[in-house]
Symmetry: C2
Subunit: 434 residues, 2 copies
């Protein structure tokens, strides 16, 4: 038998898993802080539901199989299951419906560096009936901002745009029938040279003069205020453009109101997100010093979540963090502080086994004080016990021997600072909790 984990499936050592889980906990906590309720949909759905909307690429990547008479598929994102959920249960939900979901999704693509076949997505969406306030587009910015600040990751910027601006601009050039193709092309601008971009635009059958204008438009740079000013100065009066401009202004001003550092937000007119279903605000997030990571958190506003499944209109705005890939990139770049392979705050070792019951009594007391703790139970030389303590990198080592047993005290070593003290149970608990 070949003992192996499938390629493209992340499997971590405990010390790495602890860091990964801490990141997941920060994301979950932040989502709940902003009032998002948890959702947990099945990994398996009928193939009919999952493939209702998709094009060719998704079908090639999907894990699909038959069990009995049913065509089953593993979810490839958390959006289609959400669309199904809202369509199925909308009569039982309270709107605006703010949900988060942190779960694994599956894409059977060719495995390559940095690509995973099983990976966590951490999604939020705010969905309402018929209409959804633009203020939520700013709230989503605040969520992204708070998540990355709380994760204590390197300097980042959230780039945002509004798709109505570009489509309004195309309308003003009278080439609105090419909007979908142009939006998709603009999405690639950072990955291809300018001349290649102009070439591809020409392939769409657009006049060179228009293409230059388009390039100049998406290249408008400056502070957020400067870009907004430049957009005003274009004096484009169609509704699409004006709505987009107003929405973008609102999002920027509301974001500051929500306490976001303006340094962390940048309007970028070249951001479109390739997906057809975004209709307004779009977001991407990059680390300043690591553009090679790509966008680590993206999303946007859409007019109708469940259009494939039903007629009612459910507009929404949401984002997704690809946690597995993000963790992998941070790890490979040495940006994660990986500590010991245990969640323990304290480890208790005994000078000789006769003190084991004292150690077990103490560990129970620590745990009842909500301090993760453990006793090393193997009967071996004291040196071996110390080696174990050093290996697992536990913050506090507690030693019990004859002196400690007689005097009802404990010897506590702060392993980071190397300081060793003898103290009472109460002081010990205070010290570790501090």
């Amino acid at each position: 038998m070949t003992l192996r984990t499938l390629p493209g499936f992340m499997e971590l050592l405990p010390q790495e898993q602890i860091v990964m889980d801490r990141m997941k906990a920060v994301i979950r906590h932040t989502y709940e802080l902003f009032g998002f309720a948890p959702l947990d949909t099945p990994v398996l759905e009928t193939a009919e539901v999952l493939l209702s909307k998709s094009g060719g690429d998704t079908e090639k990547q999907i894990y699909e199989f038959k069990k009995g008479d049913t065509d089953l598929a593993m979810r490839f994102d958390l959006t289609v299951p959400l669309a199904k959920y809202v369509a199925l249960y909308n009569n039982d939900l309270t709107f605006p419906f703010k949900r988060y979901q942190i779960g694994k999704v599956y894409r059977g693509e060719r495995p390559q560096k940095g690509r995973f076949r099983e990976f966590y997505q951490c999604d939020i969406d705010i969905i309402d009936r018929d209409e959804l306030s633009i203020v939520y587009d700013a709230e989503v910015l605040a969520v992204i901002y708070t998540v990355f600040k709380t994760l204590k990751l390197p300097a980042f910027k959230i780039y945002l745009n509004n798709r109505k601006l570009l489509s309004g601009f195309l309308e003003s050039l009278k080439i609105e029938e090419k909007t979908v193709e142009v939006l998709r092309l603009v999405d690639k601008i950072k990955k291809i040279p300018e001349e290649a971009f102009l070439g591809e635009l020409a392939d769409l059958g657009l006049a060179e003069e228009l293409n230059r204008k388009l390039l100049n438009f998406i290249k408008i740079k400056g502070s957020n205020a400067e870009i907004l000013e430049a957009l005003e100065a274009l004096q484009i009066s169609n509704e699409n453009f004006q709505t987009g401009l107003n929405e973008l202004k609102t999002v920027i001003s509301q974001a500051e109101m929500q306490g976001i550092n303006p340094q962390n937000i940048q309007i970028d007119l070249s951001i479109t997100r390739g997906l057809d279903y975004y209709t307004g605000t779009v977001y991407e997030t990059f680390f300043d010093e690591h553009p090679e990571f790509g966008s680590v958190c993206s999303g946007g506003r859409y007019d109708n979540l469940s259009s494939v499944f039903m007629d009612k209109k459910f507009p929404g705005v949401g984002i997704s963090i690809g946690l597995t890939r993000l963790f992998d990139q941070l790890k490979n770049s040495g940006l994660l502080e990986i500590e010991g392979p245990t969640p323990n705050r304290a480890l208790i070792i005994v000078q000789s086994q006769e003190y084991q019951n004292l150690a077990l009594d103490l560990v129970g007391k620590l745990r009842r004080e909500d301090i993760p703790a453990d006793v090393y139970l193997r009967d071996c030389k004291f040196k071996k016990k110390m080696e174990y303590a050093n290996k697992i990198k536990v913050p506090y080592l507690i030693i019990i021997g004859e002196d400690e047993a007689q005097n009802h005290v404990f010897t506590v070593k702060n392993m980071k600072e190397g300081v060793q003290q003898t103290m009472s149970l109460d002081d010990l608990i205070k010290e570790i909790k501090a």
Copy 2:
């Protein structure tokens, strides 16, 4: 298209999901308190790995399929993936290795009430090389005890036994070659009448006199002390029996040392757990008033976790909580307190939209104080806003109108107690945090 969730797959409304997630959080927190590190293995493995050990039933239930040239399968428990993990990474792990895993597993069995095809298992295992201290068998008891106490569920008892006792007893009757069959049969004793049990024993070809003795043995009742005494009185001297008796005594005495209420532990000699791989202590957990739930947490001690995969010996002890089924049973029995469909502690509503920015400013402040909070943004009649507040059952409702805006105060309604007060921001934060 048929819009549906697959039968046997749990999908909850937000108010239920919040309770489910709270249970999961308690279990996770308790596991970490006892020093277990998180593990997260893939849902998909090669079929070869997952089916290496299994018999016919598992193969029929497993979700198995081909992608390219690879036979893939969805995990049906968390034990086989753990065995693979330890076999693959044992050189990088620190032993004793205490891991927990909370994850979904898959069994494509015929759907029926209370049976799920996708369900959460919440597992802990402690694994060592070559030998593992019996004290860990008591620690596992303490974990089960702490989990169910912290979950604030109805009165429960953990039933325990040691398989060496029964196999030692069979040895003393000189019918040890039937041990596996008898252990499996004893496992069924609570589900079939005594006469049927004796009949099935007879079918194994055992003499009636022996079968009576066996029945009397597993029916030994009384307090833990009384049962231990009765076992002593049998004066069975073979090593198997004596080791089992000593282990059981140690586990019982250590459990009390760990602060477990003795009322919550009961030796039951008829508990064997059908699975072949348990070799010592075995556990089952029942609610006193709900025996129909079956065991809600089971497990035991095994000699060798990874025997299918490698020659090195890794003894361990562990348990599993079937969370999805437990949640379903508790819900159906009205034993869960289901509240509102939001994690919010506070909801802010405004008398008119001109105060919306004050509300947004406040919500940011509350969130920065780690209070999950939200603003109701829809521009509608005040009555509608109140209806929403009542519907989501938020603990605190904060109202901002002209008076509040002028005087820099907030009107706060404690929705449970129905008390309404006007207060400053500082007092408001104190009130909600209390």
